[in-house]
Structure formats: C-alpha cells, structure tokens
Symmetry: C3
Subunit: 139 residues, 3 copies
C-alpha cells in the first residue's frame, strides 16, 4: 500500500464547469497504482469539485443556470459583501455541492460510470488559479 | 492493509429512497475487514448516494417532496430535455446531494449512528438497474 | 500503513456553524501520521460536516440565513413533525450538505487551503452532544 500526493492547478475564466477527469487519470497512470481510491480535494471555498454528466454541454449550462437562480447574487440579506456580489453566493454554492470526491480505482482506472466526469465548478466571475490536491492510496 | 472491491446492482422502480445499508454491511462481513473505511460510489449521474434517517418513512417522503419542489420538472429554462422532463432535474438533484459516501469501519462494523442508513436516491421515473461500486480498505 | 480511530464529542447550543479544525488536527498530531487521509464523519442525521470559509463570521451568518430561507421550518407539506418544527428541515439540510469530509494529510498536516475550516453545522435549536468519528489512514 502506497500514498501518492499530486497537486493540480487549473486556470478558470469565470463561472462554470471545467472538466479535469483526464488530468486526474494521468496522475494515476504516472503513479501506476492498480487498486485503491483517489481523493480529489479542492483547496478553496468559492469553487467546488463535483461529478457530473460529461456528454452533453446543455446539461452543464442548465446546471449553472439552476445555481444562478437558487443562489442569486442580489441576496438582499447578505452582509458578507466586501469581496463583491459573487463572493457570498460562491461560498453557499460550494456548501451545497462538494469540496472533494473520492473515487475507486480498479485495474489502474478510476471506476467512473459511462457518463461521469470530474469537474471543477467555478463560482467566481474573475479568473483564478485553483489548487486541487490529489491523493492516491493503493497498490 | 487490504483493498476489496465489490459491485452492487440495485433495481429501482421510480423516484425515491432505497435503503442499501444491509447490502453494504454484508459485503463487509464477507471480506472480514475489522478496521478501515468503505467508500460507496454511485456510477450514474441521475441518482445519488446519501446517508439519511432510516427509522420513519415519513421523513423520507418529506425529503422527496422537498426535492420535487426545489428542482421541479418544468424548469422553463431547461434546454437539456431530449431524455425527458425528469432527466435534467435528476442531474441537478445529484449535484445537490452526493455521488458517494465514505464510512469508517471499526470492530467489523460500519460506524453509522443509531438512525443513519445508506440510501440510493433515485431521481428518474422509469425503472433502472443502478450500479454501485463498494471499495473497502482496511485490515 | 496504519488505521487510527478517534471520537470527538461536540456540545452545540442551537443552530449554526461550530469550527472543529483544531480538534481534528490535534488528533492527527497525537497519532503522528505524516501522509494519508482523514475522514471526519458525523454520526447524526440532523447536523452536517462541512468545509467553509473560516475567516469572516459574516460569511457564516449569511450561510445560516440562506439555509433558513431555502428550507423553512413551516413547510406546509411536512408530515414528519412529531419531533418539532426544526426536525424535518434539519434532515433536509443535512442531505443538501454533507455527512463527512475526507481531507488529505501531507507532512503531518491536513492540506486545507488558506481559508478552509472544518465545521459542525448544527440544524437543531436545542442543545445537543454530537458524536463525530475521525478515521486517519496513513503512515
């Protein structure tokens, strides 16, 4: 049993879903782990890690629109507004989704379903460099 | 330290919560792992894995009704509609809940609280065969 | 590779976020694990574990207010009401957030980002003693 840590940095250009499945799988390939689990952990509180349908871009656009409506930027009760109108909604959207995903590894591959992809879900408008910590435990 | 993979297949018959706690524990019993963690991972994007109150069915019905209202099928802004009115809401409900749960194992048992059960949360109307990947790491 | 289990008990005094980052890190320090993962698992269905911004209390208050509005206590369709008006909303808020977080450990420290803290998110009004199961796997 071994433990491998890797860090991914992803450049985002505004709100939306950015697929990182291939980047995670390539870390697995480099490490040569055949069986175990991988934890993909976001080191920020204004964006998320989610597993989502990765075939049809329209599904991702509808998901983004849902979150715009569920947690609108103009929440009149917000007091945490010093960092911009999109900051407080970004924390709420992160809590409503996930900070990490843990995925099983078998035969050297992540055991994702046919339509599952791993995505960084960016909740801020500005460009950001996002740091993701990838920990592989296995043999 | 050992790694064991198992696959569960659960037949769903429409929307709702289906308890799988016993099925997961029976895999643990067969493997004989005394200490570690188990990751229960859903290989689909239109249903979820959640831990929920397992004593009173009325709590589960209220939860299902909440999600019907929070993510209604007639979202007028949905564009991803080719697979039916319940498809896009199913992806959103999955992102709002969880694709997997990781549960500690001690003394050969999952360390669930008194009222916690593991559930498949089906978001589609039609019957489906759902595949769940169960990975046990421990000794 | 070793497996360590610890239990935390946290006394809550009504709804809100209670930071437990230091309590989890102190367990890590005692165990002396340098590399691996830690799973922080809530053994209840009416409160959550979440990672959230830990610098500005106003962000936490806005988050709490959002959940009061998203899942109000007076849901007229609730049937699971025997344990009080705040009981059914507590289960829903738990399903919308998380029962556990899994965090990477490197160089003896949890690899949290600069503004990330681990919080117990209490959804009930009354005081409770909450049990959290902490499992460290690593070397």
């Amino acid at each position: 049993m071994r433990i491998h840590h890797d860090q991914l940095e992803v450049r985002t250009r505004g709100k939306g879903l950015y697929e990182i499945t291939d980047e995670v799988q390539s870390r697995l390939d480099q490490r040569g782990v055949q069986n175990g689990i991988v934890t993909v952990f976001m080191q920020h509180t204004s964006c998320s890690i989610v597993i989502m349908e990765n075939a049809d871009p329209s599904a991702r656009r509808d998901l983004e629109e849902f979150f715009e409506r569920l947690v609108p930027e103009d929440g009149e009760y917000f007091t945490h507004t010093a960092e911009g109108a999109d900051d407080m909604p970004s924390h709420i959207r992160m809590v409503l989704t996930r900070t990490s995903e843990t995925i099983p590894i078998a035969d050297g591959k992540m055991q994702l379903g046919a339509w599952q992809g791993i995505f960084l879900f960016e909740h801020r408008r500005a460009s950001h460099r996002r740091k993701i910590f990838v920990t592989i435990m296995g043999e």
